[in-house]
Amino acid sequence: MDEKPDQDARVQGQRSDEDHRLKARDAIGDILHRLERFGVEVRLFREEISVLVAPLQLQDVARTLRDEFKFDFLSSLTASDYWPQLEPRFHVVYQLYSHPYNIRLCLRVPVNDSDPVVPTVETVWPVANWHEREVFDMFGIRFEGHSDLRRILMPHDWEGYPLRKDYPLGYEEPQFTFNFEDIQIRKHRPTYEEA
């Protein structure tokens, strides 16, 4: 008795999978066409589509993607630090997934060093809450409109943001020929000395 509905659901699942694969190909074109009005930059790398979005437009883009293209699942949210480059210093990276279409999309939001603020997407995908707290904890990027922006992994009174590139790992890196210049650049920067 119990197994029958299971099997039905599975068969249906497989059938709709094929439909969606066909739909997905059209959908990607649609999505990129639709996002054009936001003036975004699209990159394709290793079959992954990533879209560069300005911080101010992030919430609009996120809503459009969720409501019109069923990107109902925020799969991952993280950031990357490009120090010593300061403008933009960070990229906040959103990995989206659409359950109905079975497609993935990556949003990248550049953030400057002087004012690292990004609007929150917690209102669009509630799961962003902890992810944004983690990025705040590790990179010091603030999320405007976040309901509970506290440190999450580090102790609440921790100073500094560990995953920033100018935050030392705890020991000095040996300087060889292959990383000589790399380390030399870091040595002369006063911010590194302070950190």
Partner: protein, 409 residues
């Protein structure tokens, strides 16, 4: 001037209801050292009698800075750190990291290596589910299940030890294939396990599935609808227990999963019992996959021939100058990866395990991030536990199957 404790509490003021401030409800600290939080998880509970009004998870007690440490190591050396994240799914962690490297480097993996990878990850999935089942049942006062589960888990750990020399921290999967080929006794050991294991699942089920105490404590507890579950990012068995057929092995097959026949178990009630049923069925499906993978397992090399990323075999070192150069380069500098960023998700026993790997063209990762299912599932804990008793909270924590090493990294 506030003291340190007051500052710590002040931050949480907006998370509890007003009744807590007047003393109408009680704030109770559960953990971080508590046997049923499955590790060092601290929960701040707001209780009205024994009913949970609110539950505030506090994580980070097991934070070891793995992502930061990996940035300071070459790609190959950093791999050993991935084992230490989710210590019940070590093979899966290696897999997702290696797959990210392979995607970035466009590195090919020989078919035999893929087959062995499938066998080991599915065995690891069974082992992880066994630990989950044992501890979950233990939390619900079914003591003996734990002992049976660990008996079978030991067989899987023996197989892992046979292959890699390690029971848990295997680092057996390497970029471009495997560390070495499986030993001769591997196939027999796996076949013996496949022979013994399926009836044992029936034994566990005999102890729990129709057990009235177990059913009382799990049915209609911690219910979440499919829509909510997607919204809160649940994946894996926790999502499939709510009726959403999302399994990365089916939706975006990797590592040759498309050639194996298996089903995705789904339950629709979305409670603790549904998640239990899904995991039990998943173990049976994993057995099916291992069986097919073992039957189809081809002979051949287990490592890619691309010497820019994969070290040459030891035997070549005494005869080939090039092999010596490659060996030297790989073990001193490591290999550089092309500039770019990739995101690779795989289905871990707990849900979607994703690896975001970014390279700046150097021999060390510029940024590695792991999207870990435990971290995301913990976030949904307040939602699942509101209105239930403290005793049910224990069942709910068990049912979302968290590993704190996975959540804190």
């Amino acid at each position: 001037m506030l003291t340190q404790t007051e500052v710590a509490l002040d931050e949480l003021r907006h998370l509890v209801s007003d009744r807590a401030l007047s003393g109408d409800t009680v704030l109770l600290n559960m953990g971080p050292q508590h046997p049923s939080t499955h590790g060092v998880l601290r929960l701040l509970l707001e209780l009205d009698g024994e009913t949970v009004i609110n539950c505030i998870p506090d994580i980070g007690y097991l934070h070891t800075g793995i992502e930061k440490n990996m940035e300071a190591k070459t790609y190959l050396k950093a791999e050993v750190m991935t084992d230490r994240m989710d210590y019940l799914n070590t093979v899966g962690n290696n897999l997702v990291y290696c797959m990210a490297i392979e995607k970035l480097a466009e590195l090919d993996v020989p078919p035999r290596a893929l087959g062995v990878r499938v066998i080991l990850t599915e065995l690891q999935r069974i082992a992880s589910h066994l630990v989950w089942l044992g501890t979950h049942a233990l939390d619900l006062a079914a003591m003996s299940v734990f002992l049976y589960c660990f008996r079978e888990r030991e067989m899987i750990l023996d197989i892992l030890e046979m292959c890699s020399g390690q029971r848990m921290m295997t680092t057996y999967i390497r970029p471009g294939g495997l560390w070495r080929d499986t030993p001769v006794e591997f196939e027999d050991a796996v076949r013996q396990f496949l022979h013994i294991f399926p009836p044992r699942i029936d034994q566990y089920e005999a102890l729990l599935t129709k057990n009235p105490i177990f059913m009382d404590r799990t049915k209609k507890i911690g219910v979440i609808s499919g829509e909510e579950a997607v919204k809160w990012g649940l994946t894996g068995p926790s999502l499939r227990g709510s009726g959403v057929a999302y399994d990365l092995r089916k939706t975006s097959p990797y590592m040759g999963y498309e050639q194996y026949e298996f089903d995705i178990p789904i339950e629709t009630s979305g409670d603790v019992y549904a998640r239990y049923q899904v995991r039990m069925e998943e173990m049976r499906q994993s057995v099916r996959i291992v069986q097919q993978a073992l039957d189809k397992l081809p002979f051949g090399p287990v490592r890619s021939e691309n010497r820019k990323y994969v070290p040459p075999p030891r035997s070549e070192l005494s005869t080939s100058m090039e092999a010596v150069i490659h060996h030297f380069k790989l073990w001193t500098e490591g290999f550089p990866l092309p500039e770019g960023a990739v995101y690779v998700p795989v289905e871990s026993p707990r849900g979607e395990l994703g690896c975001y790997l970014e390279s700046n063209g150097g021999p060390k990762p510029h940024r590695v991030h792991f999207r870990t299912p435990s971290f995301v599932h913990l976030q949904a804990l307040p939602l699942l536990s509101k209105g239930h008793l403290v005793a049910d909270l224990v069942a709910i924590i068990g049912s979302v199957d968290i590993v704190l090493g996975d959540a804190d990294r």
